[in-house]
């Protein structure tokens, strides 16, 4: 916009905003719409919903992250779902992981996560020597598309009752 404000491209900023105002233990999720400069097609959208999660406490470790995401995906896709944690790189977490979920014999990347970088914890005004935590972020649209085998991401914003009523 002319006043230099921007339609947000991700929800990650909520982590620091929330962390600045709250003391650990922090357990929070932040859902919200985000906007991207994308050419739209069946797989790409300019507007979609992200879900961000943050947990900060004493002695939080990778095992807690794995448990949480395992629990989450089993709740969404059922107990038989196979998931894997693949080391990756994100600037705000260390170590970082991408999480893949298996559908029809193929792995689908669904989520980015990791242990919150000490610098980010420090920026919340929290002592990274005392506290640690994990964070994750994922696109809700893709999560739902895989669950119901939806062929086109644009259905979510089309206001088409033929689509909406199938999920009432």
């Amino acid at each position: 916009m002319a006043d230099k404000r921007l339609l947000r491209t991700q929800t990650s900023n909520n982590q620091v905003r929330y962390g600045e105002k709250h003391h650990p233990p922090i357990k929070a999720i932040f859902p919200g719409n985000v906007f991207r400069n994308e050419a739209t097609d069946a797989k790409h959208e300019t507007t979609f919903m992200q879900l961000e999660g943050l947990y900060i406490d004493k002695n939080v470790n990778v095992g807690h992250l794995f448990w949480t995401l395992d629990y989450f995906f089993k709740k969404i896709y059922g107990d038989n779902i196979k998931i894997r944690f693949r080391p990756h790189h994100f600037p705000y977490t260390e170590p970082s992981f991408e999480v893949d979920v298996e559908f029809r014999g193929k792995w689908f990347e669904l989520l980015g996560s990791g242990m919150v970088h000490p610098k980010v914890i420090e920026n919340m005004g929290i002592d990274p020597n005392e506290y640690s935590g994990f964070a994750f972020g994922l696109g809700i649209d893709r999560l739902v598309m895989l669950k119901y085998n939806i062929e086109d991401i644009r259905h979510f914003h089309a206001g088409d009752l033929r689509f909406l009523k199938q999920f009432k």
């Binding site: 990778v62 170590p95 088409d160 199938q166």
Partner: protein, 747 residues
């Protein structure tokens, strides 16, 4: 990044096959996206059934080769074939290294494929004859089931891992995850005459910490040897000439971008590494001329710029077929500066890509030597001078905190186990510190070391640990919104999520004042430049879009914007059958369910105005309110969000409009609506939706009976359904429900 599997074997010997190696790499952070196998599926095991002389060529023979189904006639020039042999048979359509097998006529005889030698298969060097296969291979089976050909790994390298942009780097990862010894390149000794011919001066050491060059005289520019061309081609790189090919080869091998200047095109035997002058022009190797400024670093001689540092060489000093003497450059350029230059000039090259991610600071001079060695081996010439300017990189030490690493990973590794993992990655532990190799620019704090430990140890071995539950905040805003949605959905309203953008046309139709709206400077679609200040225009568009539904019941909870603030609104619209009553009753339900009082006025849009929205209905009713009215006042009695118990069987939506019929059935009271819907869904593939719109019990229809009424939406993905097709499907549904549930159609 693409790597050739056989090339990796220069540095590490592995027992596992490609797929296993790919999995190990993926799970340790270098994700193998695909494996491109070089042995085509069209090459099968063939058996030679018959051999006849070629009528027109005494060196050729005609073989009849079985592919397991039929005997194919193959013209062949190899001397070593005999009846009964099993051979690799490339069928028509096979893609080999440089060509595709086609049906051909060879000296007047048709040939339907090719028998292959080792070299043609790309699995060895033997070109003396056809590769004869062992007897136990099954005729007709794909050859790649038995013989592993070469493969290319397509790997996603994250931006922090510049060290993996080479075969050596990937081999190092493989060695670490397979527990093998990496065959590290040994320091090179080259035969240099140590003449003093060229001078190098770096004027900006921050942007170029190291610069080395080797002068080689009397080389012969020409074609590269076959092995070199083959390796480059396998990775999609074109062979240009032996000098350029060698520099490209070394970049792919070790990750160090190199550049070769024609030494005779450099004025006064002087190289300056300096900021460009404002307005200085340079024609690059790709022919484009760029206008430089002080922020760009150039390689120059006394009179002109020769290259854009770390990005691309210049045309004026290019190596061509007449070149006799060359100067090989191997340098380290500042990652941030290369990224800026590359981005601002819109030029991205294999070299800039690597400098941006950080090269091996310890191998700058060594790479120049490697190039000199290969060049003198392949192109002849003698090494006259070797120059190194700049500052040797400092050792990087990071504190080794084994307890902290364990507590972050949730592991319980001993110090010794950690040291062992470090040594696999060539990290050297010195007491309480870890000496980080010079190719790992991404390792700076103990958390970075923890990641290294975790990914090589294997994150799959980390035990999952339950996180304790915590209670929800009282009257959580999010929860109230979700409750509101549940209540509206239970009243038959569907939730819409419209885009926040409005076009000029939208605001004209809705009679909104553009001055009240926030405007985007750079909208994705030029016409959608306004941000909505109401949810109604979007919902009315939705009403227009769904003419086959009656009633149309929609709501949205979404952000709206004006010049002062951003708020969240709730809007509800209804059109068609009993529209007003439907809104009234859902407001009732909201008030009861959330224990609030809503002073809402239901507004109405009349037919004339609706025409502008392309809505052909007598009226549309709507309300809109700030959601705060609800979230600030609601009291929740139960904090559980309703789970959708219905089984959702999603069907994709046809481009063609649906056909809609209403059906009402009388069934026994104990029959479940869900079972009826499931049955129709299963039996009728053209069913899009069976929407229950009415359910009642009445004495008129009988005791223990009930009436269920459905809107049935039918569609076809390929066409609009005709009346007779629709009628046929409808009678099918009636019959199925009659058979299965004894359902009686109400007339």
């Amino acid at each position: 990044m693409q790597v050739l599997f056989s090339w990796l074997k220069d540095y590490v010997e592995v027992e596992q096959d490609e797929s296993k190696i790919a999995d190990l790499l993926t799970l340790s952070g270098t994700s193998v996206e695909s494996i491109i196998r070089k042995l085509d599926d069209n090459i099968v095991v063939g058996e030679i059934k018959e051999i006849l002389p070629h009528p027109n060529a005494y060196r050729l023979q005609i073989a009849k080769v079985s592919n397991g189904i039929e005997d194919l006639q193959i013209v062949c020039g190899a001397p070593n074939i005999a009846i009964g042999q099993k051979v690799p048979l490339a069928l028509v359509g096979t893609k080999l290294e440089n060509f595709e097998i086609k049906r051909a006529e060879i000296r007047g005889v048709e040939s339907f494929g090719m028998m292959c030698s080792e070299i043609e298969l790309g699995i060895g060097c033997d070109h003396s004859g056809i590769k004869i296969l062992p007897d136990n291979y099954k005729i007709g089976e794909k050859i790649n089931k038995y013989i592993t050909g070469d493969s290319v790994f397509d790997i996603e390298i994250t931006p922090n891992r510049g060290d993996c942009l080479s075969h050596l780097g990937i081999a190092r990862e493989i060695a670490a995850v397979t527990n093998r010894q990496l065959k590290s390149p040994q320091p090179l000794k080259i035969d240099c005459q140590e003449k003093e011919e060229f001078k190098i001066e770096i004027t900006d050491i921050d942007k170029c910490p190291q610069y080395s060059a080797i002068l080689i005289k009397n080389i012969k520019v020409g074609q590269s040897p076959e092995w070199l061309v083959k390796r480059l081609n396998s990775l999609g790189a074109k062979s240009i000439n032996n000098i350029v090919d060698i520099t490209n080869y070394i970049m792919l091998d070790w990750g160090q971008p190199l550049h070769a200047f024609d030494a005779d095109k450099i004025n006064n035997r002087t190289i300056f590494v300096r900021p460009a002058r404002k307005g200085e022009l340079l024609q690059l190797l790709d022919g484009k001329t760029i206008n430089l400024n002080e922020n760009n670093l150039v390689i120059a001689d006394t009179t002109k710029a020769l290259a854009l540092a770390g990005v691309m060489g210049g045309k004026n000093s290019e190596v061509d077929e007449t070149t006799k003497n060359i100067l090989i450059e191997s340098a380290e350029f500042n990652a941030i500066n290369v990224r800026k230059t590359s981005k601002l000039k819109g030029i991205s090259t294999e070299a800039s890509y690597r400098f941006e991610r950080g090269i091996d600071s310890g191998k700058v001079l060594e790479s120049a030597k490697y190039a000199a060695q290969k060049i003198t081996e392949i192109c002849g010439g003698e090494i006259l001078q070797m120059i190194y300017e700049g500052q040797k990189p400092n050792q990087k030490l990071v504190k080794f905190e084994s307890d902290k690493i364990n507590s972050l990973l949730g592991s319980s590794l001993t110090k010794t186990e950690m040291i062992e993992i470090f040594s696999k990655l060539e990290f050297v532990v010195n007491g309480s510190e870890v000496n980080v190799p010079l190719w790992r620019h991404d390792i700076n704090i103990w958390q970075d070391l923890a990641e290294e430990i975790g990914r090589i140890y294997g994150f799959s071995k980390i035990e999952k640990k339950e996180v304790g539950k915590s209670s929800l905040i009282e009257n959580n805003e999010y929860l109230i919104k979700e409750k509101t949605k549940d209540l509206l959905a239970n009243c038959g309203f569907s939730e819409s999520l419209n885009y926040v953008f409005l076009s000029q046309k939208d605001i004209a139709i809705a009679k909104l004042n553009a001055d009240d709206l926030l405007e985007l400077i750079n909208p994705i679609q030029q016409e959608n430049k306004y941000l909505r200040n109401s949810l109604i225009p979007g919902l009315l568009k939705n009403v227009a879009k769904n003419p086959s539904f009656d009633p149309i019941l929609l709501f949205e909870i979404g952000h709206v914007f004006n010049k002062k603030e951003e708020t969240t609104n709730l809007s509800i619209v209804a059109s068609g059958k009993q529209a007003k009553q439907r809104i009234e009753s859902c407001i009732d339900d909201l008030e009861k369910g959330l224990q609030i009082k809503l002073k809402t006025q239901i507004d109405k849009i009349e037919r004339e105005e609706l025409i502008d929205y392309k809505i052909r209905k007598p009226e549309v009713y709507f309300i809109e309110m700030n959601i705060d009215i609800i979230t600030k006042n609601a009291k929740l009695t139960n904090k559980i969000i309703q789970e959708n118990e219905n089984i959702i069987n999603y069907r994709p939506i046809s481009k063609f409009p649906p056909a809609v019929r209403d059906l009402a059935f009388i069934v026994s009271k104990n029959i479940n609506n869900e079972d009826i819907i499931k049955t129709i869904y299963k039996e009728v593939d053209k069913l899009l939706l069976a929407d229950l719109f009415d359910e009642f019990v009445s004495e008129k229809i009988g005791i223990d009976q009930k009436s269920l009424a459905y809107h049935i939406y039918l569609q076809d993905m390929e066409k609009a359904l005709s009346d007779s097709e629709v009628n046929e499907i409808i009678s099918k549904i009636i019959n199925i429900l009659k058979d299965k549930f004894k359902a009686q159609l109400r007339s």
